[in-house]
Structure formats: structure tokens, C-alpha cells
Symmetry: C2
Subunit: 401 residues, 2 copies
């Protein structure tokens, strides 16, 4: 199949592009390098030393003989997206090209507005360009489990049958997102459902859980193919951050009591889920929703698992409870369905000791690149303007939240 | 109370500003005259000859001795909104300042993106500016009944109790909006709910039905205060268009079979609803939703009522069924609750013969200003690019949809 990976220089996008390429698909990456720009803005960097995308792609070709096309541009530029789709004629568009960090969207008005405009306009452009230039193409869009929030009922996959006053209907699952970023994904979901309805486009909205891990079979082929490993308070996801904190002997920073429960998955399952969705496309006019995660954990459970795995490697780490910078329930019901990708053939990698060992080994390997000032949360949900003092490389201890 | 009316030069905004001013409130209008600009863009004009806003406000002061403050600017400009709120210190912000026409949002990619960015960014800015400069202020936001779509169950006011797998929760009512405009209002609703939750703002989201009528007690005081009367296929609402078609002896243009059922209200009820919401503000942290309409009609029922009222005035009009340019169910269940504003004291003006007489009289009075090329729908939901040939003042009969 011809697959266009939007945001293919990012964490999930890079792993996905390589996986699909090795699986024999014709892959093109679209990226505008904004993820690298945010590292400059925030004064952060990935733990792992990633190469420029051109170098990565050259190495990929040298090692595998496979080539991945690169189109550099911004999906918020409609003429660019139009030309790209008209030229490449994708069978599937895999859309990772969004600002994906909740804390980034909560910094201040500018960052909230940027996140929503960037994400909503990019997705609208993708939908219009599909309609005009490749109407049979299948959109595989990355959403997030965070769109649902934490309702007191089971979370279904996108839709729910509601019985009310003696009548019944299947309706979009009610959403209660917890940041301006998560809201942008809810806006996208509504826009996609509508476009499928009026234009008979086909789409799969993948509500992904929190991704962990760095190594995939493809990135392991050469150090030049290594993927990002983000551990800062803005773009870092929680399990990655815990592993790196453990490797540095820093306490694991749990927000609040750590009862926040979420869905998680291994990045090796992310890439497989994407291919499964592409190989089994939605029907014309259909907007499917799959919940893309494999296990549920509370944040405290994760911390305890990392603590235990570290102990076996001879590292003693503490667990610190910091005041949560977010506005979220710290104890809540959470039971989210996630059977549709399993039905399509996903065989999950579960988070176990061996995986934690390998994650911890990576953090130990690159620990001389760690900037511990990146650990502490500086973006507070309750403030309309967060000062970003670390942006000027002030030590974290003096930074305000 | 100190009340800031965003979009106070528009149809609902102007009537509301005058009503609140005469009721003794301190009123400021914020407007950027974009509504007048859209008339230039579309080659349309209001049936009624409206004056420039400065002249309207001067006449208002001369007749009533009451002054309304004017701040000219765009709510998508955060520094402007910030300064306006910081200076005026409103008790209530009444937010009409959005692109409000579904067909306008469906013209093409540019108009869809403009509508969503304009509306979403404006509302985000209002929320951030309230949080920073008047956190006790009450946001009264105009949403639309079109956010709900036409589910096969009763439509509640914003929230619904869902029983599922033996558990229960009260959740935001699932939304199925039918245009990129209606989607923008859904995006706003989610953003407002979240801002109330994290910042303890207070908001009332008024999901308004289709408004009809032009004359209010205040605009009737002088012809220089006359309100807009839009009847074109983009900004005109259906009952206004039927009345003007009847006055011109043009067939009433019903889209499809006309079974589309919606909530309607008189503009004299709109202004009263706004004041009722302001006088009974939401609590801190509360995002209330009221469904703001008074009666349900199908489009065909409205056409038949106008036909009957016309006959009594000696005018015979036909009903034409045009292919619907929209993607919408033409027969559907529709039962939307609307008791909360009644509970606060609203006494509705119902659509009856006398009102139809007065609407028809206005259209007869100004019939020499009618441009019949504005009647026919030119924006088709299924097309990603609608040519807007009328924009070059080509007669409607040759225009493409």
C-alpha cells in the first residue's frame, strides 16, 4: 500500500514509518520539524541522540535498501497538503502531525490557541485534501484516550448506545477532555465524523493510550536510526520519565497520590496497530474509533513497578509525591474497552520485568545526557500564564510554576 | 449590571444591546464589523436599511438619553480583548461575536477553516481574558440547538444521565453537529466546560434555536435603530426568507421534503433570555446549558403557515421543494427540552397569525430592496469547493451550486 505518514519525524511517526517501510509498503513522510523546534523553545532535548531526518533516511536506505520519500512542509498549509496528496496518491494517510503535549497547551493563552489552531486546521486540511485529491484514501488519525476523561461508566470505543425516556440511539461517546490539547483531539474527532458523513470519506480514529519504550525492531538496526526518548515535564510521558529518574537515582515524581489510571501501550504495539488499521480500512462514509492501548495502570502502580525493577538492578529509588499541577481526579473509576484491535490480530507486548530492564538499560546507557532540571512540573493547569523560566535555562529549583 | 455585548452590531447582538441598555444596565458593545464585511463578500444586503453603528448609537442616545460604550476590535486579538475586559470590568460578557452561518462555513476549505479558527480562538481569548482580568464575571455564550443534531432520543439541556453496564453518570450530551459552523460551536462548548472546571469561571451556554423577527420594542423607537433582516441563502434564516419570498410573490423554497424539525424563537425572546441568564448567573465553576427556543416546527409547517397568512393578506404563494443542499435527515424524531429559561421567568412570544402579519408587513414595506437572486441555495454540503458566482453579481439563475 501507499502510505503517507504525517509527522514522521516524531516519536510515534518515526517508528511507524520504518515499520511500514520494512513491511513492504511505499512510505512517504511529511514533516515540518516543529517537534525539534519545541525542544529549542523549551530548552529540552531527547535522551537519545537523534540524527537529522535526512541522515536517518539515508542510513535506512543503506541498511535495508528501502527508500522513504520525504516531503517537508506544514499540514496547516492547504496548498502544500493538496500537492502532496495529489502527487503521492496515498491509499492511507497516517496523521501524527499534531502538537501532542497536554502541558504545552496549558502554558498560556498563546500555547493553548496555537495547539488548537495547529491541530484543528491541520486535520481540516487533511480532510479537504482527501476529498479533493484522493477521496478513496483511508485516514488513520491519532486521537487519545484522554478525550474520554474519567467518566464513572465503562469507556466504549467511540460510540455508546444510550437508552433514554423509552427510546434508544447509538451516539458519539460523551467526551470530557482534561487539557486544551486533549480538547483539540475532541474537536478533530467531531470534524472527522462529520467529513465522513457528508463526503463518504473513510477514517479510523485511534484513541491511543500513553506510549512507552523507544526501541523497535527497525530502530534497533543502527544507532543512527534511534528514536526520541522524551522525559521532560512537557513532552515526556510518565513511564519514560520514571525510568530515567531511576537511572539517575532521582526520586520518581508522582503527581498527587498517583491514583490517576490510564491506558498504556508499548511503541512496538503502536506501529502494529497502525498497520492493522491500514490493512483493514474503514468503509466509505464510516468513521471507526478504536481504543489503542493494551493495559491499564495507575501512576503509582507504574512507579512501584519501576522501583521494583530498579531494585533488582541494584538501584534504590524513592517515590516522591508532588502536588499535581493538573486538574484531574486522583481516584476514579476507570474501565476502558479495547478489543477492536485485538480482534484485528494485535498480539500485545505487555509491560513486564524484561521490558522495564531494557528501558532502564537505555536510560543508564545515556545517563550522561540527562538534564535533571527537566523533571519537575512547571506548567500549572490553574494558572492562565505560566512563566517558563527554564526556557532561559534557569535551574529548575528556582523556576516558578 | 455592567454588560459587555460581543458582536453588538449583528442581528441578535444589536437587539440585545438596546434591550439591556433600556433595562438600566451599563452596556458596552465590542464589534469588528465583520458581519458587514460578509455582505460585501457575498454580494448581499439586509432587507432593512441599517445605519452605521456610530449613527445608531448616537440616535439611541438622543432618543433615550442612554449611552452605550463602543469598543471596535476583534476578539481573536487577545491584547484587544484583555484591554477591553480590564478597562470595562464587566459583570457579564454576552458573546455573539462568531461567524454564525452554516452555509458560509461550507463554501470551501478557506471558509471552513476561517469559521472554526475565528470562533474557537475568539472564545478561547474570552475565557483567558476573563480568567486574567475579571474572573468573577459571568460568560453568557451563544451556542446553537444545531450542536445536538437530530438524535433518536430526547434532547436534554446540555447534560444527560447515562446508565451503562450497571453504572451511571451525568455526562455532556453527545453532539452530532451538521456543518463546520455547528462544529465550531461544539468545540466552543467543550472549551468553555473545561475552563469553568479548571479556573472556576462561571458560564451559561445558550443553545439557541432559529431566530425570527426584526422588530423589538427598542428598535421600533426610530427607523434609525432598525435591525438587520437577512434573507439570502447564506445568512438568512428560514422564516425570514419565507416571509420575504411571499411578499415578492416568489415560491417559498423548502429544502427537500421539509420534514426537518427545529426549535424556533422570536427575537424579542432572545433578548429577554439573555437578561434572564445575566440576572441569574451561574455559580463559580459551573457551566450551565439552557436550550433557548420556544416552539418546534418542521420547515414545511412554517412554509404552510406563511402561505396561509399570505392568503389572508390577499397574496397567493406557492411552495417549491428544492433538492436539499445540506446533508441532513428529512424525517426524524425531534423532542428537545427547553424548560430552564421558562423556570427563570421567560414568557414566550409564540409564532401566530399576528406575528406573521407583522413580518409580512415589513417585507412588503421594503420589497423594493429585495434581490431575488439571493433566495436560491448555492452552497452544497457535498462539494469541497463551491463556486460563488453570485459574488460577481451574476443572476442566480445561472449560478452554479
Amino acid at each position: 500500500m501507499r502510505m503517507c505518514v504525517l509527522g514522521g519525524d516524531g516519536y510515534c511517526g518515526w517508528a511507524t514509518a520504518l515499520y511500514l517501510s520494512r513491511r513492504g509498503h511505499e512510505v512517504a513522510i511529511i514533516d515540518n520539524y516543529l517537534r525539534r523546534q519545541w525542544d529549542f523553545e523549551l530548552g529540552t532535548q531527547t535522551l537519545t541522540p537523534i540524527l537529522p531526518l535526512n541522515d536517518r533516511l539515508r542510513i535506512w536506505q543503506e541498511i535495508t535498501g528501502l527508500s522513504i520519500e520525504l516531503m517537508v512542509g506544514d499540514v496547516t498549509d492547504y496548498s502544500f497538503v493538496s500537492t502532496a496528496f495529489a502527487d503521492f496518491q496515498p491509499d492511507a494517510v497516517i496523521h501524527f502531525a499534531e502538537q501532542r503535549a497536554a502541558p504545552y497547551s496549558m502554558i498560556d493563552q498563546k500555547h493553548a490557541v496555537f495547539t488548537q489552531v495547529n491541530n484543528v486546521v491541520g486535520t481540516l486540511n487533511v480532510l479537504f485534501a482527501m476529498r479533493e485529491f484522493c477521496p478513496e484514501c483511508h485516514l488513520v488519525k491519532l486521537g487519545t484516550m484522554g478525550e474520554y476523561g474519567t467518566p464513572n461508566i465503562d469507556i466504549e470505543e467511540g460510540y455508546i448506545r444510550v437508552e433514554h425516556n423509552g427510546r434508544s440511539d447509538v451516539l458519539p461517546y460523551p467526551k470530557q477532555p482534561g487539557s486544551f490539547y486533549h480538547l483539540s483531539k475532541v474537536h478533530d474527532s467531531h470534524n472527522i465524523m462529520f467529513a465522513c458523513k457528508i463526503w463518504e470519506l473513510r477514517a479510523t480514529d485511534l484513541n491511543q493510550g500513553v506510549v512507552y519504550g523507544t526501541v523497535t525492531d527497525e530502530t534497533a538496526l543502527d544507532e543512527g536510526l534511534i528514536n526520541r526518548f522524551d522525559y521532560d515535564d512537557v513532552f515526556g510521558t510518565v513511564l519514560n520519565r520514571f525510568c530515567i529518574q531511576a537511572a539517575c537515582g532521582h526520586p520518581l515524581t508522582v503527581y498527587g497520590e498517583g491514583g490517576q489510571t490510564r491506558g498504556f501501550l508499548d511503541i512496538r504495539d503502536t506501529v502494529r496497530c497502525i498497520e492493522l488499521a491500514c490493512l483493514n480500512p474503514a468503509n466509505a462514509g464510516e468513521c471507526r474509533v478504536f481504543n489503542q492501548f493494551t493495559e491499564q495502570f495507575s501512576v503509582l502502580e507504574l512507579a512501584q513497578m519501576v522501583q521494583e525493577a530498579s531494585r533488582k538492578m541494584g538501584m534504590e529509588v524513592e517515590i516522591d509525591h508532588l502536588p499535581s499541577p493538573r486538574v484531574e481526579a486522583q481516584h476514579h473509576y476507570y474501565n476502558a474497552k479495547h478489543s477492536k484491535l485485538i480482534d484485528l490480530g494485535l498480539r500485545p507486548h505487555y509491560l513486564g520485568e524484561s521490558l522495564l530492564d531494557s528501558l532502564l538499560n537505555i536510560t543508564v546507557k545515556y545517563q550522561d545526557r540527562v538534564d535533571i532540571s527537566q523533571f519537575l512540573p512547571q506548567v500549572n493547569w490553574k494558572s492562565p500564564r505560566n512563566r517558563r523560566t527554564r526556557l532561559a535555562t534557569v535551574p529548575a529549583a528556582t523556576a516558578s510554576s
